[in-house]
């Protein structure tokens, strides 16, 4: 059976969302000082870089940007098995006393973010941790919410949300399948 | 009580009615023409052979009754079609005195499933130092004619020479377990590329061949006869062939497992496949089959070696050497030698009954299927197929290498001096 699929965001929509997320983060943080963006592997990383780039256009300052692989912090090894590890890369200066904004493509159960919080606590002691996501599709299993949301997309559990980004997939789009 | 075995094919040839009376073959009539007996057996489709004789059996009693007893071992023998077995001397105590061999002989008579001919040890305690009292064992009620330190090679050349000379006085034979000890220290499997890959200490063919070469030359020199146990390599077959051409009085045996299994089974590291001498290569298997077919190898002997479960359910290095063989021997010979056209049934009777009886000097066994001969018989269904189930074997042990395997041909009945020990494939 081929699942019905619908594109809910195109490249322009994604660019607008990134722009809005960038503005909101800067507003709430009263400027870029002390900010660190940490993209969660895989698609959170290019998103973080896009946000950093947009912020540079807005404020003409460089916000440090890093990558976080949370594979070893997941609690579902028994269910999902071992997977190849990705790079974790902290910007110079680390995360101590910084306001860390985690960036991910989709917020769903919240388990990825829980793992990311564990990973961050192994890497240092941020002053605060916030969360920015491109899509929030609901169905949380943990008391976790995003500080910045590009787009809320109500889904059923049976559906799948595919975020594709040019850096990884060669195209910018968000598709709901099923 | 007279019994008529109807429409049975002696040596797989033309069917006859065979009447047994008073422990002997009383008459042989054309099929369907024998007068009615007190008991009738319909044997159409079955082959009758002289009861099989095993020159190499480990019955473990006395000493390891947890692994096998004379009763359980002879039951397995009867179910495998044997009417006589030679019980190897490496028991505890060792069968190196008239007292021990007579005890084994008597226990065999009591158990009654087949004749048990004790093999006497060549040296006291199998220690390879002093000759055991070979003459006393020969003169005992057990009338020992075969002497062997099996499990251990009589490696001392002088001791071997003396043993070969000494047994001439009572027409005995030394059955040599040919294994040069220094070349096989700690050996675990056939030495070759596979042993190197598996990291298991190798048992090189030369360790067998060197002893065989030495012993046939010793036998020639002192004018005695020598028997080679369980030869396993192409080189050994070549040496025996050469020795026989030279007129040396040597006989040799091959086991069923060396006729069919190869060293690749060691890749499982399952000690069920650990045996001494080890399983060899496919080329060696081809050579022993050829040797058995052309008469270079005189007999098939089982080297039936029961081992308690814990001695096999462990890692390879800790596992004991040896495999069960009595209940699967004939099927292996049928599969490897008869169904491949290498041996006729008459030749099977020779290799598994007549020749071993002659080597062991057992006059009443291995006789031709003729009127007046003792009724030591086995009825075989050559077309039957069965699957080996270790739990269903009569042995106390379960270390068969053939578990689950389909076997060719089945023993239907065995008669010891006219008395059925096995009927319809079950103990009678």
């Amino acid at each position: 059976m081929v699942p019905a699929s619908a594109r809910v965001l195109d490249a322009a929509d994604i660019a607008r969302s990134v722009s809005r997320l960038s503005h909101e983060i800067l507003e709430r943080s009263h400027g870029s000082r002390d900010l660190v963006l940490l993209g969660i592997q895989t698609r959170g990383v290019p998103l973080a870089h896009r946000i950093a780039g947009r912020m540079a256009e807005i404020e003409s300052t460089t916000v440090p940007c890093g990558a976080l692989d949370i594979t070893m912090y997941r609690d579902d090894l028994r269910l999902r098995g071992a997977r190849p590890l990705d790079v974790t890369e902290l910007p110079e200066g680390g995360v101590d006393d910084r306001v860390v904004v985690l960036v991910d493509d989709v917020l769903y159960s919240g388990r990825t973010i829980r793992a990311a919080l564990d990973a961050i606590s192994d890497l240092g002691r941020p002053r605060a941790v916030q969360l920015a996501v491109l899509v929030d599709r609901g169905h949380r299993e943990l008391p976790i919410r995003a500080d910045y949301v590009g787009k809320n997309i109500p889904t059923s559990r049976e559906q799948a949300v595919r975020v594709r980004l040019a850096e990884v997939d060669g195209i910018d789009e968000v598709v709901v399948e099923g | 009580m007279s019994m008529v075995i109807r429409e049975v094919a002696p040596y797989g040839e033309e069917a006859v009615d065979m009447t047994i009376d008073d422990g002997r073959i009383a008459r042989i009539d054309p099929a369907g023409s024998a007068p009615a007996g007190e008991r009738e057996i319909d044997a159409s489709g079955l082959i009758v052979l002289p009861g099989l004789v095993d020159l190499h059996t480990h019955l473990r009693e006395p000493g390891r009754e947890d692994a096998e007893t004379i009763e359980s071992g002879t039951a397995a023998a009867a179910l495998g079609g044997f009417t006589a077995v030679h019980a190897m001397a490496n028991t505890q105590p060792v069968a190196d005195t008239a007292g021990v061999v007579e005890q084994v002989w008597r226990r065999g008579q009591e158990a009654g499933y087949c004749d048990v001919h004790p093999v006497g040890a060549v040296t006291v305690g199998l220690a390879g130092e002093r000759l055991a009292e070979l003459g006393a064992m020969a003169d005992s009620a057990a009338r020992v004619r075969v002497f062997s330190d099996d499990g251990i090679c009589v490696s001392d050349a002088v001791l071997m020479r003396r043993a070969l000379e000494y047994v001439k006085a009572f027409d005995g034979v030394i059955a040599q377990h040919a294994q040069e000890p220094r070349l096989t220290e700690g050996a675990q499997m056939n030495e070759g590329e596979l042993s190197g890959v598996l990291g298991l200490r190798g048992w090189p063919p030369v360790a067998e061949e060197a002893i065989i070469a030495r012993d046939v030359l010793l036998a020639e020199h002192v004018g005695s006869r020598v028997h080679i146990c369980h030869l396993s390599t192409r080189g050994s077959v070549d040496i025996i062939r050469w020795a026989k051409q030279r007129g040396i009085d040597v006989t040799a045996e091959v086991t069923p497992h060396h006729l069919i299994l190869t060293e690749e089974l060691a890749t499982t590291y399952d000690p069920r496949y650990k045996v001494n001498p080890p399983l060899r290569t496919a080329d060696d298997v081809a050579a022993v089959r050829e040797g058995l077919a052309d008469g270079t190898i005189d007999i098939v002997a089982t080297d039936h070696a029961p081992h308690a479960h814990e001695d096999k359910d462990c890692e390879w290095g800790a596992g004991a050497f040896g495999m069960l063989g009595l209940q699967t021997a004939l099927s292996v010979v049928i599969e490897t030698m008869v169904e491949t056209g290498r041996l006729s049934w008459r030749e099977v009777a020779d290799r598994m009954s007549t020749a071993p009886a002659i080597i062991g000097r057992v006059e009443s066994q291995g006789r031709p299927l003729e009127v007046g001969e003792p009724a030591n018989l086995v009825l075989v269904d050559p077309r039957a197929r069965w699957h080996v189930n270790a739990d269903a074997l009569a042995s106390r042990s379960r270390n068969t290498p053939f578990e689950g395997r389909e076997m060719s041909g089945r023993v239907v009945a065995t008669f010891l001096r006219g008395r059925p020990t096995v009927l319809e494939g079950r103990l009678a």
């Binding site: 692989d69 070893m72 912090y73 997941r74 609690d75 579902d76 090894l77 028994r78 269910l79 999902r80 098995g81 071992a82 997977r83 190849p84 590890l85 990705d86 790079v87 974790t88 902290l90 989709v106 769903y108 159960s109 388990r111 990825t112 564990d118 192994d122 890497l123 599709r137 889904t155 559906q159 799948a160 949300v161 595919r162 975020v163 099923g178 | 675990q188 030495e191 070759g192 590329e193 596979l194 042993s195 190197g196 890959v197 598996l198 990291g199 298991l200 200490r201 190798g202 090189p204 499982t268 590291y269 399952d270 814990e310 359910d313 462990c314 890692e315 390879w316 290095g317 800790a318 596992g319």
Partner: protein, 318 residues
């Protein structure tokens, strides 16, 4: 993904590289001073050491603990448990204890294989050295070390020339390395006196030589194996002096290697026998790195094996 690690031959190229890559990322994590990852929290790893091998045991313990596994070490050395029965009995005990993985070192070749295949236990089995058979995690850490120096820490070892010297006959390190290095595309030559090369070594996926100088010339790496004194007493070679003259690595011989060629040794070293102190502690030696890399490689192995599933469920969209 494989279920057990019994032989280096169990690993195909992709699986081997995946383990090395994982080890690399774990090494970077450790570089960030993350001492412990929560990955195996609540799972139990049993180290079952029938043979005394402090360095391998400690390395596996450290690996399991850094992944937050519960670690139970069962060190049963000496003759009291040399009977085969106890391997089975211990396996049944482990099963009852709910162990998830067992790391086994045993003097019998095939012991790990037997433990994995006998039905005595459902645990994941990692071979930490079985008799004179194999030692696959040693081969992995050697490959990791070689890759780090010869291939910038990525990909395979295509075309790299590695020479393994010494008692090939009794060496589980040599067997595992020949298999793994061949899988990774390296050209391996084993060198030793003919008495210490196994029968049938011609069939192995490597070249064979009795001439160390010739084999070393231009090679990218040499791996020196420990030579036990008892081999001399068993007449495998006439004397320690003759052995080290013909098959020992001194500075002069080490200079025959390629300019950046490195020297490995699985340890413990016999300085003055198979390797001079000068080379063992010299600039080409990577012996200390091998130890460090061992922990990361074993973490990677535990992670991948204990995370191996028959089929992976996919959680869409996360």
């Amino acid at each position: 993904m494989i279920r057990h690690l019994l032989s280096a031959g169990d690993l195909d190229r992709d699986e081997a590289i995946a383990i090395l890559d994982t080890a690399g990322e774990l090494a970077r994590a450790t570089g960030r001073s993350v001492k412990k990852l929560p990955t195996l929290r609540g799972r139990t790893v049993v180290n079952l050491f029938y043979e005394d091998s402090t360095r391998t045991r400690i390395s596996f313990e450290a690996a399991a603990k850094r992944l937050s596994a519960d670690v139970i070490t069962f060190s049963a050395k000496g003759s009291s448990v040399s009977k085969g029965e106890s391997l089975k009995d211990t396996a049944l005990t482990l099963e009852a204890m709910g162990a998830d993985a067992v790391v086994v070192r045993h003097s019998a070749s095939g012991a790990a294989h037997r433990l994995a295949m006998s039905g005595w236990t459902d645990c994941v089995v990692v071979n930490a050295g079985d008799g004179t058979h194999e030692h696959p995690t040693q081969a992995l850490l050697d490959a990791y070390t070689l890759r780090h120096h010869l291939s910038d820490g990525a990909g395979d070892l295509q075309g790299r020339r590695v020479v393994i010297v010494g008692d090939i006959l009794h060496s589980r390190v040599a067997r595992s390395n020949v298999l793994l290095l061949e899988t990774l595309g390296a050209e391996v030559t084993v060198v030793g006196p003919p008495t210490l090369l196994p029968v049938g070594v011609e069939g192995w996926p490597c070249s064979v030589s009795y001439d160390l100088d010739n084999a070393l010339t231009g090679a990218d790496a040499v791996m020196m194996l420990r030579v036990q004194n008892e081999r001399m007493n068993a007449a495998y070679f006439p004397s320690a002096r003759e052995y080290s003259r013909r098959y020992g690595l001194d500075r002069h011989r080490a200079e025959l290697l390629a300019p950046d060629g490195i020297v490995l040794h699985p340890g413990p070293m016999n300085r003055g026998m198979e390797i001079t102190a000068e080379v063992a502690d010299g600039p080409r030696s990577v012996v200390v790195e091998q130890v460090t890399n061992g922990v990361h490689v074993r973490m990677a192995v535990l992670y991948r094996l204990m995370g191996a599933l028959p089929e992976l469920e996919s959680e869409a969209g996360s």
